[in-house]
Structures are given as structure tokens and as C-alpha cells.
């Protein structure tokens, strides 16, 4: 039984995450945790058989629109991976490989890209895939009426498109963007039928039309999306296991928000695959013969607590360091995640090759924390044992999104609350629903927060730590929750985003990470958890190495 990658065990995380722009790091790409382990199939010897219905149970919120161009969050990516395809993909080593585009070229100044499309591909509504179709997709993403968020930002530097021929499309950029290919590989930039895009947004949201191995058949809100096999499928990515149509006849995509119910459903055989598996169930699955674990940490940022350096008390680096030193994260991760998550000491996901890890900066050292606080003027203690300075209590307001933090993570925060209390921090956890949580962030009513960010490549650092990210959008949204405002860091990140030279880029990102970690802006916890549990009947399922969404093209049922 070749068990799939338990290589890195990880935390999981739950629902929707806003995705930021992908940046492109030309050639460099990330290896996924699935390395060498693309299949979750327990019986490698069997021959795939066609047919059958696979039931997938998602713990994420049900998308409000199945077209990932609209908005663009992870739940959309999960399901659209089954019916939409991108121009390029990544292989398990992180190398960009052809998908709907056979090949591509870039001009020396990095401002003009030409993609040659694969021959003979048609959308499932019969529309042929051609240059005009790609143009229509880019136009759709850039049209404000679409309401695209993730895809829109990914294409921020694209200023024009042109059909060089039926099969060659040219993109013109305002500035060089070495992350372009990675951006295009993301499911949020999946290519849809231009004919279908002509329809009203409602229709398109209900059943987007792509070139993928499955087709959206029906969507009963709050119940299930039914996907059926695309029998005319011709365009698997270069790293697929087979050609032609998928094995599965049908996928029923369900939403079971309650984690206990979801796992019970898998145990009872009512569903075949669940996502957002909880640590205790992963541990149980490890001892079970009937359930297989698939671990696919997401790329981009690690899961971390961001400390708001924009206001007191964390505008003082010493207090930030004291907080980090006073938090016993290691024990908490060990007990809560039961081996399914590994502690991170980096701003980036462990799947990012350019990540820098500095364990020594995040040691649990309450004594050092106490000294730091004493020196910083927080030397008094009040009746409850909390430190004060000038009569003000050392309070850390920590809003927790119940949508974004799984129970184990919420418990982790409680343990941090408890250990930090010993040093004299009054950590005030507030569980909030997503809207309230964003409102709290938007009104700067937080001292610490944990917000996940998924994105391919180290360019995520620019989004999270460049001072541009402090200014909120009209919606109140901003990505730089640590409110890092460091001109030198800004320069490093801008430069890294535009350089064409891989070594230089690596050095620049390394420097940038040093500044971030040594500035104690963040307390890294672990990778963004992305665990799937599969019934043993499911064979050949794997996660795409782009943003770790599962694909069932190669999957088949061994019942």
C-alpha cells in the first residue's frame, strides 16, 4: 500500500481565502508536498476501470458562483478544477508545463508574451478553443462588471491582447511580470467558452462551460453540484496519467459544513472524498484501513499570526518579540495537530523553494520575553497578573474568524492566550463571523490576527508586506495586516518582482524575508493546511501542483 504523502503533515484550514495576485517567478516553481506521490491509490497494481459516481464532500462554503472569474476564492478553485483548464500548469517539481497552451515565448524586455494554443480543443458546448477565446476570457476577467478579484489582480499588468493567428494569442504588459505564467496556471484564470461567456452572469455562474474532463450538469443550491464526464475530452495536462475522457462517469460535489458530519459521512461510505479534514480524524485515518490521507499544503504564505505594528503595543519591536517569545507554539501544534502539521518558522509555505526558515527567532522563552517587556516599560503588573505601562494594560486584541480558522487553530490561539498570559499579556480572543472579522480588520481594531493567503510563488511577500498593502481598498480590505511600513523592504520586494534573473530574485527574497522575520512582524505557525481524506475505493486522485486543488481526471473507483 503505497500511502500518499504523509511527508509533511499539516494543519488544515477551512474556508474561503481571498487570493491575491499571483506573481510569476518565471521558471522557478514550487514543489508540492505531494512530491513523488501523485496518487492516493492504495493498490497500484489494479487497472483503472471506467464508470461510477464519486461523491466529494467539501467543508468549504458553497460558492455563490461556479465561474471562478467572478470573485475568485478557494472553494471555486476546488470545484472548477474539474471542468475548467488553464493555459499552463505546474508539474510536481514546480516546473511550468503546457496545458491549453502548447508553447509560449516572451520578448527580451519582458513586455510581450505569445502563447500558441493546443490544436483541436473544443469547449464542451462545441465552441473551438482559439486566440479569440483567450482574448474573450482576459476581457471578461478585466471587465469590472464581472466582479473579478483574484483573476483581475493576476492580470494587473496585462494591458492588451491580440490574436496573432487563430492559434496564437499575444499579451502586452505594462511592466515585466515574471510571475505571469504562475498566475495563468491558477484555476481562477481557467479558460471558458466565449459563447458561454456571452450569456448572463447568472447563467454563467450556474454552469460555466470549459474544456475540462467534466461538465457542470446541475447545481441544486445548498445541496450538491452534479458534474458529468465530458466524453469528448482531449486536453489533459502534460503530467496526466492517461489520455481521453475521464474514468469517472459522474461527480457529486456536496457541501457538508460540519466537520464531524463530514468525517462520519466518509466513514459510513456515503461520500468518497472529504476536504478540510480535522487533525483528530487524520490521526484516526492513519490507523484505518478504509481511509487514505492526502496532504497538499497550499503554496504562498505560511499560516502565521500577524502583529499589527501600526499601533501600540506592537509598534514596539521589543513587545512584538516578547509576545512571540512568550507563546508556546511547538507544544500546542504537537498536541492539537497530532502530527498532521509541522511547525513553520518561515513567512512562506514549505512548498516555496525560496522560503527562509529561522527557527531560533521563534523559540519559546518566557524569561527573555519578561526581560524584553521590563525593558520596554511594561514592568508593572495589575491585580489580574497582566502587565501595565502608564496604567494601560498590555492588551492584545485578537479577532478570530470562525470561517478561516479551524477548531484546532482556534484552540491553538487559546493556548497561546494561556501561555502569553503567564508573561503578562492580556490576549482577548473574539470569535467572529467572516463579515464581522473583516470589519474588525478594516477598522484597525486588532493587535494580532491570523489571515491565510494562497498564491503561487514568493511574490506573495510583496502583497503581504509591501507598504502599499496598508491602504485599504474601498471595501476596507488590505493584505498587509502586520502593517509593515519599511521603505527598504518595499524596494527589495518591488525589485524581486521584476527581475528576470533567478539568482538575483532568490537573493532579494532572502533579504526581504530576513527583514520580515527579524522585525518580529509575524509568528509563523505551520503551512496552510489542506488535507483530504479518501475512501480506499478512490484510486488515482491527486492534487494539482498549482494551488493544490484535487483533480479527479485520473481517478477511478475500485469498488
Amino acid at each position: 500500500m503505497p500511502r500518499p504523502a504523509l511527508v509533511r503533515s499539516v494543519p488544515l484550514l477551512s474556508t474561503r481565502r481571498p487570493l491575491g495576485v499571483a506573481l510569476a517567478a518565471g521558471v522557478t516553481v514550487l514543489g508540492l508536498a505531494l512530491t513523488g506521490c501523485t496518487s492516493a491509490a492504495p493498490q497500484a497494481s489494479s487497472t483503472p476501470t471506467a464508470g461510477g459516481t464519486l461523491t466529494y464532500a467539501s467543508g468549504d462554503a458553497e460558492p455563490t458562483c461556479l465561474d471562478p472569474h467572478v470573485g475568485g476564492n478557494y472553494p471555486q478553485a476546488l470545484v472548477s478544477t474539474q471542468y475548467l483548464e488553464s493555459l499552463v500548469s505546474l508539474d510536481s517539481d514546480g516546473t511550468v508545463i503546457p496545458w491549453l497552451a502548447d508553447s509560449w515565448t516572451v520578448s527580451d524586455d519582458g513586455l510581450t508574451w505569445e502563447f500558441t494554443l493546443r490544436d483541436g480543443v473544443t469547449f464542451s458546448d462545441g465552441t473551438p478553443l482559439d486566440a479569440a477565446a483567450v482574448q474573450a476570457n482576459i476581457a471578461h476577467l478585466q471587465d469590472p462588471a464581472t466582479g473579478s478579484s483574484t483573476g483581475y489582480l493576476a492580470l494587473a499588468k496585462v494591458t492588451g491582447t491580440e490574436a496573432v493567428s487563430d492559434s496564437v494569442v499575444r499579451l502586452t504588459l505594462a511592466q515585466p511580470d515574471s510571475a505571469l505564467l504562475e498566475s495563468l496556471s491558477q484555476p481562477w484564470l481557467g479558460i471558458e467558452s466565449p459563447t458561454a461567456l456571452e450569456r448572463s452572469q447568472d447563467d454563467n455562474c450556474a454552469a460555466p462551460v470549459g474544456t475540462g474532463p467534466f461538465v457542470v450538469d446541475s447545481w441544486v443550491k445548498q445541496n450538491a453540484i452534479t458534474l458529468v464526464r465530458n466524453d469528448d475530452y482531449t486536453s489533459p495536462p502534460a503530467d496526466a496519467e492517461h489520455d481521453g475522457p475521464a474514468y469517472l462517469e459522474k461527480i457529486v460535489w456536496r457541501f457538508i459544513p460540519d466537520s464531524a458530519s463530514r468525517y462520519a459521512a466518509l466513514q459510513a461510505g456515503e461520500v468518497d472524498v472529504i476536504d478540510n479534514a480535522q487533525p483528530d480524524t487524520i490521526a484516526q485515518a492513519g490507523q484505518s484501513d478504509s481511509i487514505v490521507h492526502l496532504d497538499a499544503p497550499r503554496p504562498g504564505a505560511s499560516n502565521r499570526i500577524e502583529l499589527n505594528s501600526g499601533k501600540a503595543p506592537f509598534n514596539d519591536a521589543a513587545v512584538r518579540e516578547a509576545f512571540i517569545r512568550s507563546a508556546n507554539v511547538d507544544d500546542a501544534v504537537a498536541s492539537l495537530f497530532q502530527g498532521s502539521a509541522e511547525r513553520s518558522y518561515s513567512a512562506l509555505s514549505s512548498v516555496e523553494p525560496l522560503g527562509t526558515s529561522r527557527p531560533e527567532l521563534f523559540d519559546y522563552d518566557p524569561a527573555a520575553a519578561a526581560t524584553l517587556l521590563d525593558d520596554a516599560g511594561w514592568s508593572e503588573k495589575d491585580a489580574d497578573g497582566y502587565r501595565t505601562k502608564d496604567g494601560v494594560r498590555l492588551t492584545v486584541v485578537f479577532p478570530v474568524s470562525t470561517n478561516q480558522s479551524i477548531p484546532a487553530e482556534q484552540s491553538l490561539f487559546e493556548q497561546i492566550q494561556a501561555t502569553a498570559k503567564a508573561t503578562g499579556f492580556d490576549v482577548q480572543l473574539t470569535k467572529l463571523d467572516l463579515s464581522s472579522w473583516y470589519t474588525a480588520l478594516g477598522s484597525n481594531a486588532y493587535d494580532a490576527v491570523s489571515a491565510p493567503y494562497t498564491k503561487v510563488g514568493p511574490d506573495v511577500l510583496r502583497i503581504l508586506f509591501h507598504s502599499d498593502g496598508i491602504t485599504p481598498a474601498p471595501s476596507g480590505y488590505f493584505a498587509n495586516h502586520a502593517q509593515v511600513n519599511d521603505p527598504e523592504l518595499d524596494a527589495l520586494l518591488t525589485q524581486a518582482g521584476q527581475t528576470g534573473d533567478a539568482d538575483e530574485r532568490a537573493t532579494l527574497y532572502a533579504d526581504a524575508q530576513e527583514r520580515i522575520l527579524e522585525g518580529f512582524y509575524i509568528l509563523p505557525l505551520y503551512d496552510q493546511q489542506n488535507h483530504f481524506l479518501l475512501g480506499t475505493a478512490v484510486q488515482g486522485a491527486r492534487a494539482l501542483p498549482t494551488v493544490s486543488t484535487p483533480t479527479f481526471y485520473d481517478a477511478w473507483l475500485n469498488r
Partner: protein, 336 residues
């Protein structure tokens, strides 16, 4: 049991007419009252949701996490009339509601009417089944534990009290663990066939049965001590006959009156149960809509629930009147 009516035409007809007179006038008043309640519910909800912090335009554009441009926000505000004064928005909303138009969801890219309709069936089915099962459980326990001595009575009323104290979500999880994980006899989530309904229905029905049972037991005791039961026994009626032909009907009266209220509490329970069992339905829709500030959906669901509640109350009144044709009618209780 044959209807002992001798002249079905005349007496039956008269009875129908008398019944009609008894119900007719209250019914028209009821309809007036219902319209008022619907209006008030819509108004309250409209302003209550408005009090929740958060920008509706933002909700429309994919929630606060999305990165929207000021232009898009302005466009949406204009499109949905959000730039109008609140009172204008309120009147517009009322106007739409009056014509049966529930408006368009901010978050779900669809009209509220079809959405609510598509979710209504599941919840109604759940609620009606749960109500029925609760009745069966309560009646079963009452009949089992009556006339079997003190111990049985104690056990019966003890079970009722415990059942009424069970939190829905805990009961649901326990049922899942026992029936699905340990025994593997029932699916833990909703399925296309009826098996998937068993656990959700039980989850809702058990606590409710506890309530109904408590109410029923009290009136059952009274009924069993009444002279007409003695009369029936004197005619040779056995325990079972006394119970089914006489006492239970009296015992059921207050519980029938409670059914309107019970329905309301089932809807609250449905919020939890639909989440746990991943069932489509109004409860889950409502919870989601509230968390993303989807005002039209919230109002739409609340209106439909209020309407269903009103209908349920009327039905339970009607049932009370049918079960108890005596002219002194008590209004359906909303008692706890």
C-alpha cells in the same frame, strides 16, 4: 368505528354549517392579522438587518474580503437603490414585497423567490415530519407509561424532561456517532432516499416530543380522573379504550394548541440540524445569509417562515376546533 350519525345529510350538513360559522369570521380576522404580522416582520427585519455593521454594496460585490473598486461600489449602490434614503429603500422594498417580489440576493446571483422556494420544501418536509414523529413519540410514551403504575409514570415523565433538555446539535452528533459510525445503519448526511431523513427528523423530534409529552401528561392525568372516563369504564371500556377513545383526545388538546409554537421552534432547530446533516433548507440559507449580510434573502426567508408559522397556527387552531368542537375556543397558545 362507524359514524353513528343517523341522518348524515341533515345533521352532517348542519354541523358543517355551524362549523363554518364558527370558523368563517375568525378566519377573515386571521387573514387581516396575518397581513399585519407579515408587514411588521418585514419592517422589523429590514431595519434590524440594516443595523448590522457592514456595507450591503460590499456584500453584493463578493463580501468584504474582495478587492473592489470605488466605481464598482457606486455602480452597485445605484443599481440596488442603496444610495437612496433609507425610507425610500424601505418603501421600495415594501412595494416589491406587496407584489410578491422578494427581490434579488446580494450574494447568490439569483432572485430570492426561486431560491426560497427551492429551499422551502426540504425544511417543510423536515418540520412536518419532525412534528409528526414528535407527536408519535409523545403519544407513545404517554400511552406506554399510563396505567402501568408509579414507576412507569416516573420513567415516562423523566424521559420527557431529559428529552426536552437535549441541545439539538449535541443530540445530532450523538445520533450520528451511534447510528452511523458505530452501527452503520443510517447515513449521517442527507441522501436522496428517505434514510437520510431519519436522523435529522429524530434530532428535531426528540426534544419536541419531550415538550409535548410534558404538556400531554398533565392533561392526560386530569382527563383520566374525570367522570366521563368513569362512565366509560362503567360501560365496560378497557384501559386501552379509555385511553384512545377518550383520554388521549383531551390530553392532546393543549398540545395541539402548542403545535403552532412548536413549528416555530422547529424552524430554529432546523438552522442547526440542516448545518449538521448538510441538508438543503431555509435554516441553512438563513444562517448563511445572515453571516454575509444578504438582506433580501434574510427578509425573504423570514417572511416565508412567518407565513408558514401563521398558516401553522391557523391549522393548529382549526385542528383544535375540530378536535374540540365545544364553542368555548381557546386561542392557540404560544406558551413555552
Amino acid at each position: 368505528m362507524a359514524e353513528p350519525l343517523t341522518d348524515a345529510r341533515s345533521t352532517g350538513g348542519q354541523r358543517v354549517r355551524r362549523l363554518g360559522a364558527r370558523i368563517g369570521w375568525p378566519l377573515t380576522r386571521r387573514i387581516g392579522g396575518a397581513v399585519f404580522v407579515l408587514w411588521a416582520v418585514a419592517t422589523l427585519t429590514f431595519f434590524a438587518v440594516r443595523l448590522i455593521p457592514g456595507d450591503p454594496a460590499q456584500a453584493i460585490l463578493g463580501g468584504p474580503g474582495s478587492q473592489t473598486s470605488p466605481e464598482a461600489l457606486a455602480a452597485v449602490r445605484a443599481e440596488y437603490g442603496l444610495d437612496q434614503p433609507v425610507i425610500v429603500q424601505y418603501l421600495a422594498q415594501l412595494g416589491r414585497l406587496a407584489t410578491g417580489d422578494l427581490g434579488r440576493s446580494y450574494a447568490l446571483n439569483m432572485d430570492v423567490g426561486p431560491l426560497v422556494l427551492s429551499q422551502l420544501g426540504g425544511t417543510l418536509l423536515l418540520a412536518v415530519l419532525a412534528l409528526t414523529v414528535a407527536w408519535i413519540l409523545a403519544l407513545g410514551l404517554a400511552t406506554w407509561s399510563t396505567g402501568r403504575g408509579r414507576v412507569a409514570r416516573r420513567i415516562g415523565s423523566g424521559l420527557e424532561i431529559v428529552a426536552a433538555a437535549l441541545p439539538h446539535f449535541w443530540l445530532a452528533t450523538t445520533l450520528i456517532v451511534v447510528a452511523s459510525v458505530w452501527w452503520g445503519i443510517l447515513p449521517p448526511i442527507s441522501t436522496a432516499d428517505a434514510r437520510g431523513l431519519v436522523l435529522p427528523v429524530l434530532t428535531l423530534a426528540i426534544p419536541l416530543a419531550g415538550f409535548l409529552g410534558q404538556v400531554m401528561r398533565e392533561s392526560l392525568t386530569t382527563a383520566l380522573e374525570s367522570p366521563f372516563v368513569l362512565s366509560a369504564r362503567a360501560r365496560g371500556e378497557g384501559e386501552r379504550g379509555v385511553l384512545w377513545r377518550h383520554a388521549l383526545r383531551h390530553a392532546a388538546l393543549p398540545a395541539i394548541g402548542l403545535s403552532g409554537w412548536a413549528f416555530g421552534s422547529l424552524i430554529s432547530g432546523a438552522v442547526v440540524v440542516e448545518t449538521v446533516f448538510a441538508r438543503p433548507g431555509l435554516g441553512r440559507t438563513l444562517l448563511n445569509a445572515v453571516t454575509v449580510r444578504d438582506v433580501p434573502v434574510v427578509i425573504g426567508v423570514v417572511m416565508v417562515v412567518a407565513l408558514a408559522y401563521i398558516l401553522m397556527t391557523i391549522l393548529s387552531d382549526l385542528a383544535s376546533r375540530l378536535a374540540d368542537p365545544r364553542p368555548t375556543t381557546s386561542t392557540a397558545g404560544g406558551a413555552q
